[in-house]
Symmetry: C2
């Protein structure tokens, strides 16, 4: 499918190698380069294979923290680039709320709304996942306060007080989120993030409630009774938090992407939808990491069979820009309430236009389901053969993970895998996460499983 | 300088015209299109002239809220695009903290650090202005808490409490900002924003103190004594806020860009630097709107003659990406404290590389100073001829403004100006702001002044 994709991983040096380390030394003088895995040869990378500056060819099932929908340098993306399809976006970066080009309106209508989740009437574009969440929260606050005022305009006291950060009633508004949830790193979204102290230490945060996420056992079906009890306990905590009042929104990921690939049942999410409706609280489904096709559907929540759609659905990563979809009632009555200078980026949105076409033309969502089934079966095999190392294989589509016996072994497996050509990532305390591109085929799945197994058995 | 730039504005229809309104009707089904001035023909726009979809040619001194450094479709930007200079950034959007390409390291070193303000050792790249401010605030909180702990690691209690949004001592941390200041619209930066209720109504905010910005009279020199008193009162309030303790940062714009183009003297800003140093509080200069050359220097604060540099300097808009520069001590000791998925956008940064080259090659900062002087002289003339309409002309470089007698007249002048071919913007309650590209030449200044005067005298 991708003509000049490498046939397999090839490792020539330690990973990262000397050329990467030389760049890190230069880079580290000006930016934090400690987090860099390798420096990437962007031109040579192809399909599912990341080529680094030392000439190592890595099978990449992490893809820049789940951001590369079509793999590297997909021919349709490059052809569109060279054929001039993006030229209208080449000559300046616009403020899309002030003077957007008509091509952007086409992209909103034919790309963003084409793949909109059912029930969503509007789409707000911003630039990143954290901005997506911040603005979805703002839309929820606006709707909540409009309802509380019964449609009346704000009082002069409200208008004066808000400039002093002391608007009556507003300070008490809350957002409920889940233990292990990750929703971004700016101070609003970060107040809903509950994954790791490194994200939150030393920063002021809103005094919002946190509720337990069900500690499901895998496979979900095989432990349905136990999981149902865990979910019931979580739902009780949710209901108690909503009953306390002043809750403008509840935000949840379909699968906790940073917090350890924790899953829950469709029943659980349907119950969240019912509870938030009953309590007049916005139900925000954060699909920044799950959205864009990795679960074998455009949106992971489409698998839940909701009777009533979510109120807001956030996205970023594979979507190339950030933003959220929402229902009509969450579209503010007044202009400039949800606004910023750039409101996204037309160039990245135009690239998304190509992505959506290719996904549909090539049936990539079906492919993700097939590759995901093969990956999950393979992870089960790995677990059966190495129960002392691996456990709890789980996944929806290719959005998959496996646990390792402890955090240090997990880190050593990831390091060893990279040395033989597999770029994967960690999630939570001791999970390995798989976030491949949508062009992952059977042969990549098999190679990934083989490399992972070899890495695990190579540990001293 | 820009070969095929129009020679003057040409208006064929009402502005916005029927083609813009038809697009607004389509666009408004999915997004908030009420804020759109006109829909822009991105390909036909050239230099200082915005061409809209009705074929109107507008002299643009607003430039997408100050975001277009070289005007529209500058030949060097287009040539770089077509010559393949950006091709390495064409095939995917990377997570720059995970696997950056070496071209990005070059851009950091040769573009971003080349124009770094004196005293700044590091640069953090993000995507927008509000993310720039959020992360600068986080760097300030980290430094403050590190000092407070005396270098000791956080306690297990701190680590547990931060996940509950209840870390002892941290909730009380504050950021001081100024009345009329604008620093962004996500919940952290928005807590420092104090410009208008439309930005803040209904949103929870941190209980941070606000201090008065000096109500300077213009020209600053002619009212030095009065202004000095206003500045002294403001500084007293600042000192009282800092004395109250727990202040991690003070944030200020060199010129209040949304809040009405309010200026203060270099003495005032030098005093802010001294006070923040004395009280161990980070001094954040927010150059999102002033940075990137509009004041005739890369950074407006360079005009202050500071004895000690700022601690952090934020940018976005003309810089094409968001971010901040900082001093060594504000670079976190641990990795992943300041981090997100995209950490900017290499494509927009590569375009900034061309912008910086052109600004230097063509001496655009000098040109901005000359054009700015001509603009300011012209605004003084306008004020002298129409004192019943205009007052308080002011500006540094081409970052200029003029007051109109009242808000409604200001809005009518802007509307009338657009009908005859001038795209300008409002700021504060009753100011008109000028935020042209750096390629504004004498003839554009003269045309701008002529159109503005014709608009003003045309009012019934």
């Amino acid at each position: 499918m991708i003509p000049d994709e490498p046939t397999h991983a090839v490792v020539r040096t330690a990973v990262p190698g000397p050329a990467s380390e030389a760049l890190r030394a230069r880079h580290g003088r000006y930016q934090d380069a400690r987090t860099v895995h390798v420096y990437q040869d962007a031109r040579k990378s192809r399909g599912n294979y990341l080529v680094d500056v030392d000439g190592n060819v890595l099978l990449d099932v992490y893809t820049h923290i789940a951001c590369v929908p079509l793999g590297y340098n997909h021919p349709d993306l490059l052809k569109s680039w060279h054929d001039g399809r993006f030229d209208w976006a080449a000559g300046f970066r616009p403020a899309l709320g002030v003077a957007p080009p008509p091509e952007y309106v086409d992209l909103v209508e034919h790309t963003l709304m084409r793949i909109a989740p059912a029930g969503m009437s509007h789409v707000v574009t911003v630039t990143t996942g954290t901005e997506a969440v911040e603005n979805a929260l703002k839309a929820a606050f606006i709707a909540f306060m409009r309802r509380r005022r019964g449609g009346a305009p704000p009082t002069p006291e409200d208008l004066a007080a808000c400039l002093l950060n002391r608007q009556a009633g507003t300070a008490a508004l809350k957002v409920v989120s889940f233990e292990g949830g990750f929703h971004g790193r700016t101070l609003g979204s970060l107040s809903a993030t509950r994954s790791k102290p490194v994200h939150k230490l030393d920063f002021p945060a809103f005094d919002w409630p946190v509720v337990p996420f069900p500690a499901s056992r895998f496979p979900l079906d095989a432990h349905a009774d136990t999981n149902r009890e865990a979910e019931a306990r979580s739902l009780e905590a949710v209901e108690a938090a909503l009953r306390a009042g002043d809750v403008a929104a509840l935000i949840v990921e379909p699968i906790q992407g940073e917090g350890g690939d924790r899953h829950a049942s469709a029943d659980f999410f349907r119950a969240l939808r019912r509870l938030t409706s009953e309590h007049g609280c916005a139900f925000i489904v954060d699909e920044v990491q799950t959205g864009g096709g990795a679960t074998g559907r455009w949106w992971a929540h489409e698998a839940w069979g909701l009777a009533e759609p979510p109120d807001l659905v956030t996205f970023s990563k594979k979507m190339q820009i950030g933003g959220y979809y929402c229902r009509e009632v969450f579209h503010p009555a007044e202009p400039y309430r949800i606004f910023n200078t750039f409101l996204g980026d037309p160039l990245r949105t135009a690239q998304l236009g190509v992505v959506v076409e290719v996904v549909e033309r090539d049936g990539l969502l079906d492919r993700v389901q097939r590759s995901g089934a093969r990956l999950l079966a393979g992870l089960h095999g790995l677990t059966a053969r190495h129960p002392e190392v691996f456990s709890a294989p789980r996944g929806v589509g290719t959005f998959a993970a496996i646990d390792v016996c402890d955090a240090s072994t997990r880190d050593r497996v990831l390091f060893a895998a990279r040395q033989i050509g597999l770029e994967a990532g960690g999630s939570g305390d001791r999970s390995i996460r798989f976030r491949p591109a949508l062009v992952l085929a059977d042969r990549h799945v098999d190679e990934c499983l083989d490399l992972l197994e070899r890495a695990a058995v190579s540990l001293p």
